[in-house]
């Protein structure tokens, strides 16, 4: 009962709140079952999987179709949709738009996924250590996290990205660093509630080491929570990448991303509307799918809401 009150006050936006804990297996089976019936989530999941697959196979696809994202033909620029040899037209330099979108997707998704995982990794490590050990460690982490979250994250992001030229790698690093605090907070709360459970106490009784308990027993039991956070933060990070491109601090040419393709296409919104619509729609659809999946997962893992 005491735990229940505490959890309410901690005000988790996602994840379970207060219900009796169930063994992980049953929870997962139930969740999978309920997702299978959630048509919206299933559609979003398949769209996203297709995008990811296409993105991963970008080099193969462009080779198979004999499309080159680099080859220019400036005298044949702004070709419209459905042009022979260029299904999605050509851009301002006469490069094949389809091939560019493929490679851009690879990078945009790559950045978002990698930085979400980085932020999550740091957050899980910090949060679970704080929650597991408690005491002084917990106090320090709490203070540090509170300080960190007091800085307006977006402002800091804009400052750093404007003062240093970002490459895809440094951007992953930066976004990961800025995103960990929220994860750490949720993971800490979750760890505190899990560490008193029977199976953890049982593991402790058998003499398992702290690290073993933490990473084999506690962390796996919050996978549902982590997956939900992940799907939502990847969506947010794709939007952040495109917003940084818009103010000129994002990934720079010649590396294509959906964000910088959309930004530069704003200059040609009358001459080549498809140059603007396609990257814009791809961003929107991808982020939409991610959010829908996050929602669907939450419903699936939260029996009270999903019935």
């Amino acid at each position: 009962m005491e735990n229940e009150t505490r959890n309410k006050n901690v005000a988790q936006p996602i994840g379970k709140r207060g219900e009796a804990y169930q063994p992980a297996q049953t929870l997962w089976r139930r969740a999978l079952l309920s997702i299978r019936h959630d048509r919206q989530t299933m559609v979003a999941l398949s769209v996203l999987l297709i995008f990811a697959l296409i993105g991963l196979m970008a080099p193969l696809i462009s080779e198979a179709l004999d499309l080159d994202p680099i080859e220019q033909d400036v005298r044949n620029n702004y070709a419209p949709l459905g042009t022979e040899e260029h299904l999605l037209g050509t851009d301002e330099l006469g490069r094949d738009h389809f091939a560019r979108l493929l490679f851009a997707g690879q990078i945009s998704l790559g950045i978002a996924i990698a930085s979400a995982f980085l932020g999550m990794g740091i957050g899980v490590a910090v949060g679970s250590i704080a929650g597991f050990y408690g005491g002084v460690v917990d106090d320090i982490v709490i203070w540090f996290t509170a300080t960190w979250t007091a800085i307006p994250g977006l402002l800091l992001l804009i400052i750093v990205s404007s003062l240093f030229s970002l490459t895809p790698f440094s951007m992953v690093f930066l976004l990961g660093i800025l995103g960990w605090a929220g994860v750490a907070r949720l993971v800490r709360a979750e760890t505190i509630s899990i560490k008193e459970r029977d199976f953890v106490l049982a593991a402790r009784a058998t003499g398992a080491s702290n690290l073993r308990i933490m990473f084999l027993h506690i962390v796996p039991n919050m996978f549902s929570l982590l997956i939900i956070i992940l799907s939502q933060s990847i969506g947010g990070l794709i939007l952040i990448e495109s917003a940084l491109s818009f103010i000129g601090f994002g990934i720079k040419a010649p590396t294509p991303t959906w964000g910088n393709m959309l930004t530069s296409a704003l200059d040609y919104m009358r001459r080549g509307p498809h140059l603007m619509m396609l990257p814009g729609l791809l961003i929107t659809v991808t982020v939409f799918c991610l959010y829908v999946i996050g929602d669907g997962l939450r419903d699936a893992f939260d029996p009270k809401i999903a019935d």
Partner: protein, 380 residues
């Protein structure tokens, strides 16, 4: 979503259910804690600024007609070639206790005067590099109103609609309204805001009015202003209710995220509350649906989210630059953007300091709000 990813309620750590030891003590402690936090932020940001490649003088005076000597004079007068600790100290405690190179000859000797900067600790924000001699605080002051005005409008509009939609979606769970609003709000939140903004500007400014004109309606003029905060008339900005149409598009575009997040939070929380015992009790007393939903259920459903006010507001402030840029809203975001591009150190620092201050204050405020709303919460 931004707010969830980047800002999480720190307050939650400090609030524990337990003894009532009083809010005042807690607030004073939080305020005192804010001081070292602010101090730490300034050191970190100042180091980031000075570590960054590039020199403000090169950027400010990138003009071959400016002579070499003048560029050096400028560098000395701005003090940008001094070591890090000296620049930070000067920013922090001023330079009126030491001689500065006031005749810009590259030497500091008795012909030079004492500095005239009092430092941030004595409330002097220094002088902007780009806007020669202007006080950054004054420059921010000119624009802070616009930013707060827009963000409050977004907060108000987004929260009201988010909560309303959340409640109705919970009540009509699974029905058309629920499905439609969930999809619609998420779509709005998934579109890059700058793109949505530009599309909105073009649609209401050009496409729609000209389409109507073709059918003999109107004269093809923009239906809504395509940017700015006030009509271009002399004599100052008219009161807010006379220029609400200027706020409409920026508010709509930047509220989508809020509506999406809050409608989901409220819907989930409402579902839980509606099935709880005290609501059943209320129903059995014969209260109308509306009374049950809005007086009893909603109040309990939104209490846990009071702490989200701070990150929401922070996220809005941080993201201001995008929406201000699209809609030419004369706020602090654009000013900070300009300061970053021109490496105007005192301006950047002033923006960071004020942004972080507002951030810390909004955390404290949302803690207080939470305590006022939820009698179970006490401060330890």
């Amino acid at each position: 979503m931004l707010s969830e990813t980047f800002c999480s309620p720190a307050a939650a750590y400090f609030i524990e259910a337990g003894d009532a030891t009083g809010m005042n003590k807690y607030i004073i402690r939080r305020l005192l804690q804010a001081i070292p936090t602010l101090f730490g932020i300034t050191i970190i940001v100042y180091a980031i600024i000075l570590l960054a490649p590039g020199n403000p003088v090169t950027i400010l005076a990138f003009d071959p007609t400016i002579r070499q000597d003048e560029r050096e004079r400028l560098a000395r007068s701005l003090g940008v070639n001094d070591p890090f600790y000296l620049q930070y100290l000067r920013w922090l405690i001023g330079d009126d206790w030491m001689r500065v190179d006031s005749n810009y000859d590259g030497r500091i000797d008795e012909r030079d005067a004492w500095g005239d900067n009092y430092g941030i600790l004595r409330g002097d924000f220094g002088a902007s590099f780009k806007f020669r001699g202007s006080n950054p605080l004054h420059l921010i002051g000119e624009r802070l109103g616009a930013t707060i005005e827009l963000n409050l409008a977004v907060l108000l509009f987004g929260l009201t609609n988010g909560i309303l939609i959340g409640v109705l979606a919970a009540v009509y769970r699974g029905r058309a309204f629920d499905r439609f609003t969930r999809v619609f709000a998420v779509i709005g939140d998934s579109v890059p805001a700058f793109w949505l903004g530009l599309l909105a500007i073009v649609t209401f400014g050009i496409i729609l009015p000209r389409f109507l004109q073709d059918y003999g309606i109107g004269q093809g003029r923009p239906l809504l202003p395509m940017g700015g905060r006030c009509p271009p008339i002399r004599g100052g900005c008219p009161p807010i209710f006379e220029r609400l149409h200027f706020m409409l598009l920026p508010t709509l575009v930047s509220s989508f995220g809020l509506i999406a997040v809050w409608s989901r939070l409220v819907r989930a929380s409402m579902l839980e509350t509606l099935s709880s015992d005290f609501i059943q009790t209320a129903r059995s007393k014969g209260l109308t649906n509306r009374q049950v939903w809005f007086r009893h259920a909603l109040r309990n459903a939104i209490i846990p989210f009071a702490v989200f006010l701070a990150p929401t507001f922070l996220g809005l402030i941080g993201g201001s630059v995008i929406i201000e840029r699209v809609f030419t809203w004369p706020g602090v975001g654009l000013l900070t953007f300009d300061a970053l591009v021109s490496r105007d150190h005192p301006m950047i620092m002033a923006s960071v300091l004020i942004g972080s201050f507002l951030g810390l204050m909004s955390w404290i405020l949302s803690d207080i709000l939470l305590a006022l709303l939820d009698p179970r919460v006490r401060f330890s």
